[in-house]
Structures are given as structure tokens and as C-alpha cells.
């Protein structure tokens, strides 16, 4: 008997009512995520990736279908599912240490316990020595690492990351990819990542889901059979390049549709 999934997304659809009528953002998406698995969702802008993420995270509660965590329906935000956002989300009035300790403080942990745990997590994301720095004193990449550490502080069963490195430059993004690989190796954290970046998806994932452009459906699932741990140095390998090319082949058609749609919308003013 195969093990039951940590997270099951079953025939999930989401529609929005707009001034121009009903828009289907996500259409009949199903997916099982096993414990410890790292899955990336890749698709053109506007394909409903973030909508799907918000439904799984409990920020959007009205949808068709079922999202089940350990067999129980997700009906709102819950501590078992942690989210890292695309936007800068650290609290500017708190130091790095206080940011990471934030969820533990809200949960009522004693100061000593939460500080010790926050220090461990800052060390895990490579920010030891920056405990007393405020976000304004740190780079964008460091701030995103604080956000990741803060989300991990709650020890979520599922970690959702919505394009966490989108606002960063390519070099920082590559180095942070390596850092996420290290964290993944250490924690075996079940993770669902949304990204636009094919290399990032291949480097980090066990499986990559390609979504269609509007309405968002799963077009194809590609298993990444590359040895772990995978550092950014692996990106030069032939096998890595083949995966990137394979994903781009499927994604290109969808990205073109998205581009044409955006151009048509711009022409209509």
C-alpha cells in the first residue's frame, strides 16, 4: 500500500467574478504531495499559480474541490501550513532575531525558548551574526532568508513559497537556491514552490508542474531525476540542461499565449 500524501489537492477550481464576467483562474487541479517532497509549480504570469497557493495556504477559502492536509480539509490558515511571500514581508520594527521569533511569541513560548529557536533558525539560513540587525540594514536576499526562517520557526508540515526570490538579482537568486537546497537536505521539509525560473525549479524540485495559461490547469508533471544534493554548480551539466529545455518546450507555448493576451489587453486600453 502506498503511503498517504501529506497534502492532497483534489479537483480544485477557483472562479472570480469581474466586471468583464466570470474568470476561471484555476481549473480542476489535482495533485498529491508526499511527506518530504519538494514540488515546484511553474507557469506564465496570470495562470493562477498564486491563487492556488493562497487556497492551499488558507488565505482564499471559497473554492470548488478539496484541499486535504493529512486527510482533513483545509478551511483557513493553520499553523501546519507556512507561507513565504513574494513581497518583502519582514516586520521593519523588529530585529532579525525578533522577526524569526515572532510566531513563537504569538504562540506564547517563553522568551528563552523562542530566542534559542530563532538563533538556530538564523544559523540555518546563514544569518548568524545579524541577530540584532533591522531589516532596513540588510539586503533583499537576507530579508527573504529571515522570512523563510520565520516561517520555519512554526515547524510547518507544509512550506509554501510564492516566488520568494523573484525580486532578487540572478546571482543572489542562485546562491539562495543553494541555501534552500541545504535547508531541504537538513529538514526534509515538504515544500511547494511557485516560480517563474526554470533553472530554480529544476535545481530544487523532485517534481515540476507546468501550468497552462488561463484557465490554470496542470499541463504536465516532470520528475527531476538528478542526484542530490544539487548545488548551482550542477546547472552546467548536460542532464540539467535537458530538463531545462524540456520544461521550456512545454512552457513556451503557454508563455506565448500569456504574452499575446497581455498585448491584446494593452491594445484595447
Amino acid at each position: 500500500m502506498s503511503p498517504s500524501p501529506a497534502l492532497r489537492i483534489s479537483r480544485v477550481s477557483k472562479h472570480f467574478e469581474t466586471g468583464k464576467g466570470r474568470v476561471t483562474a484555476v481549473d480542476d487541479v489535482s495533485l498529491d504531495i508526499m511527506q518530504g517532497e519538494f514540488i515546484s509549480i511553474i507557469g506564465p504570469s496570470g495562470c493562477g499559480k498564486s491563487t492556488l497557493m493562497n487556497m492551499v495556504g488558507g488565505l482564499l477559502t471559497e473554492y470548488d474541490g478539496d484541499i486535504l492536509l493529512d486527510g482533513k480539509k483545509v478551511s483557513g490558515c493553520q499553523p501546519e501550513i507556512g507561507m513565504v511571500f513574494q513581497e518583502e514581508s519582514t516586520f521593519p520594527w523588529r530585529t532579525a532575531l525578533e522577526n524569526v521569533a515572532f510566531p513563537l511569541e504569538a504562540a506564547g513560548l517563553t522568551r528563552d525558548k523562542r530566542i534559542a529557536r530563532a538563533r538556530d533558525l538564523l544559523d540555518l539560513v546563514g544569518l548568524s551574526g545579524f541577530e540584532n540587525h533591522y531589516p532596513a540594514e540588510l539586503s533583499g536576499g537576507m530579508r527573504q532568508r529571515i522570512a523563510i526562517a520565520r516561517t520555519l520557526a512554526f515547524e510547518p508540515r507544509i512550506l509554501l513559497m510564492d516566488e520568494p526570490f523573484a525580486a532578487l538579482d540572478e546571482q543572489t537568486r542562485l546562491l539562495l537556491g543553494d541555501k534552500v537546497v541545504q535547508i531541504q537536505n537538513k529538514l526534509r521539509q515538504t515544500t511547494l514552490l511557485i516560480t517563474h525560473n526554470i533553472s530554480e525549479a529544476v535545481q530544487l524540485s523532485d517534481r515540476v508542474l507546468i501550468m497552462t495559461f488561463r484557465p490554470g490547469r496542470i499541463k504536465r508533471v516532470i520528475e527531476i531525476d538528478l542526484p542530490r544534493p544539487r548545488s548551482s554548480e550542477m546547472m552546467g551539466s548536460e542532464a540539467f540542461g535537458r530538463y531545462v529545455a524540456e520544461i521550456w518546450q512545454d512552457l513556451r507555448e503557454e508563455a506565448s499565449k500569456g504574452l499575446h493576451d497581455a498585448e491584446a489587453a494593452a491594445r484595447q486600453g
Binding site: G58, L59, Q78, I81, M83, F85, S89, P92, F102, A106
Partner: protein, 253 residues
């Protein structure tokens, strides 16, 4: 010519302008261009500050006025923040009443003093109530503005950690809105000082405002200007200190 004189630093520049204005005033008075009865020269006004201590119980009046100012600021700020929160929370009320409050912030509320006299009588309650009313509009507006502009991603972070409503307010909304709310509190404090002194002057009751009125009535014009100057200096010091406090509190952002 030294560089500091060609391009003086801001503080020196301010002091130079102040000194030049005083010099022009002194010269105009000495030349008879300005009546000493209407505007005595600075050389008479500054020594009169010392006399205020001796003859007019400056310290006691100062403490009385500033006690009223802080009472008005406390009451007005508390009510203002509560109403600002309500207008943020209740979108319909926010859309309906924000313009009214913005209009009232620009209105000379001090002219309502006869109404407050009828309600509270000629006592400190009228002064504090009028001060509190003047504090409220900027505090309400800035509280609402601060809360309205908290980035939604910060609220989403709180939701993903399953924060209670009260934790959302205490740990995210209020700290995120604090810089804007603080601007409202600073403005409110200055409005409180202006209105408290103004109402004291109008109803002839209380501390510094009453002292200015009494000096005017006794035709001690230099003393009256000295008292006005003292209030202005207090107000400027007040503003400077709250500015420093704000910078210190928010320095890390």
C-alpha cells in the same frame, strides 16, 4: 570670508536670521518707526521674562497650562485613536465621515468656546475639553491613514500564523501604523497647546493664557510680549523634543 559665513550650517543660519530680525526690530523701535507702546524693542522684552518669574508666578502658571495641555492631549489622543480605528475598521463610516473630520481639522474650533463655557462652566474642564477637541481631528485622520496603509502582506503573514484579532492589532497593525499615528500625535500636542493657551486667554482662566491677558489689561506690554515669547519658545521646544522622540523610536525602520 570664512566658508561657514558664506554657506552657514542650518542651525547657524536660523540663529543669524533670528538675530537680524531682532536687530531690525530694535533699530526700528529706536528710530521711532515702531511705537514702543505697540511693540516694545527686544531689549525691553527679554529682561521682562525674568520679571515674569518674580511678579507673575511664571512657574506655577506654566505648570498649570502644561498640565491642561497634557490632559487635553491624553484625552484627545485616546478618543482620536479609538475613532480612527473605528473609521478604518468600518469602511462605510470611514467613507462617510473622514471628509467631515478633515474639514473640522481646518476649522477654528476655538470659536466654539461659548458653547463649552455653557456646558462646563468657567473652569479648567472647559479648557481641557476644548484642547481635547482640537487634538482629535489630526489624531483621527493620521490613525486611520496609518492603519489603512498597512501593507496587506504583513496582515497575511499574521493570518498564516493564525494570530487572534487582538494579536493582529497589537503585533502587526499598530506597530506598522505607528510612524503615521505618531505624526498625528505630534500635531495633536501642538494643537492642544495652541488651543489651551487661546481658551485661557479668551475666558480669563488658567495659566499662561490668563497671564498674557492680565499683562495686556495692565498695559505691561513688554511683559505681555515676554509671556508670548515664552509660550512660543515652549511650543518650539515641545515640537523639537517630540521630533527627537519620534526619530529615536523609529530610527530602526
Amino acid at each position: 570670508m570664512p566658508v561657514w559665513l558664506i554657506r552657514p550650517p542650518p542651525l547657524l543660519s536660523r540663529l543669524l536670521v533670528f538675530a537680524v530680525l531682532l536687530g531690525v526690530w530694535e533699530a526700528a523701535s529706536a528710530a521711532g518707526m515702531v511705537s514702543r507702546f505697540i511693540a516694545p524693542p527686544p531689549s525691553e522684552i527679554f529682561p521682562a521674562i525674568g520679571l515674569l518669574y518674580v511678579d507673575n508666578e511664571l512657574t506655577a502658571r506654566f505648570l498649570r497650562t502644561f498640565g491642561e495641555v497634557f490632559a487635553a492631549a491624553g484625552i484627545g489622543s485616546g478618543l482620536g485613536m479609538a475613532i480612527g480605528w473605528w473609521l478604518h475598521h468600518n469602511r462605510t463610516a470611514g467613507a462617510a465621515y473622514t471628509d467631515w473630520i478633515a474639514a473640522s481639522a481646518a476649522a477654528p474650533l476655538v470659536l466654539l468656546f461659548p458653547l463649552f463655557l455653557v456646558l462646563f462652566g468657567r473652569n479648567a474642564a472647559t479648557i481641557v475639553a476644548m484642547g481635547a477637541v482640537s487634538v482629535m481631528p489630526p489624531v483621527i485622520l493620521k490613525t486611520k491613514e496609518g492603519l489603512d496603509h498597512v501593507r496587506s502582506v504583513l496582515i497575511d503573514v499574521g493570518r498564516t500564523f493564525s494570530l487572534t484579532r487582538w494579536q493582529q492589532v497589537r503585533m502587526i497593525l499598530f506597530p506598522a501604523a505607528l510612524p503615521t499615528i505618531f505624526t498625528g500625535l505630534r500635531l495633536g500636542l501642538v494643537f492642544a497647546l495652541i488651543n489651551v493657551v487661546g481658551v485661557e486667554f479668551l475666558i480669563g482662566f488658567g495659566g499662561m493664557g490668563l497671564m498674557i491677558a492680565e499683562l495686556g489689561d495692565r498695559f505691561e506690554i513688554a511683559g505681555m510680549y515676554a509671556a508670548i515669547l515664552f509660550v512660543v519658545l515652549c511650543s518650539a521646544t515641545f515640537f523639537y523634543l517630540t521630533e527627537k522622540l519620534e526619530t529615536w523610536l523609529l530610527s530602526a525602520r
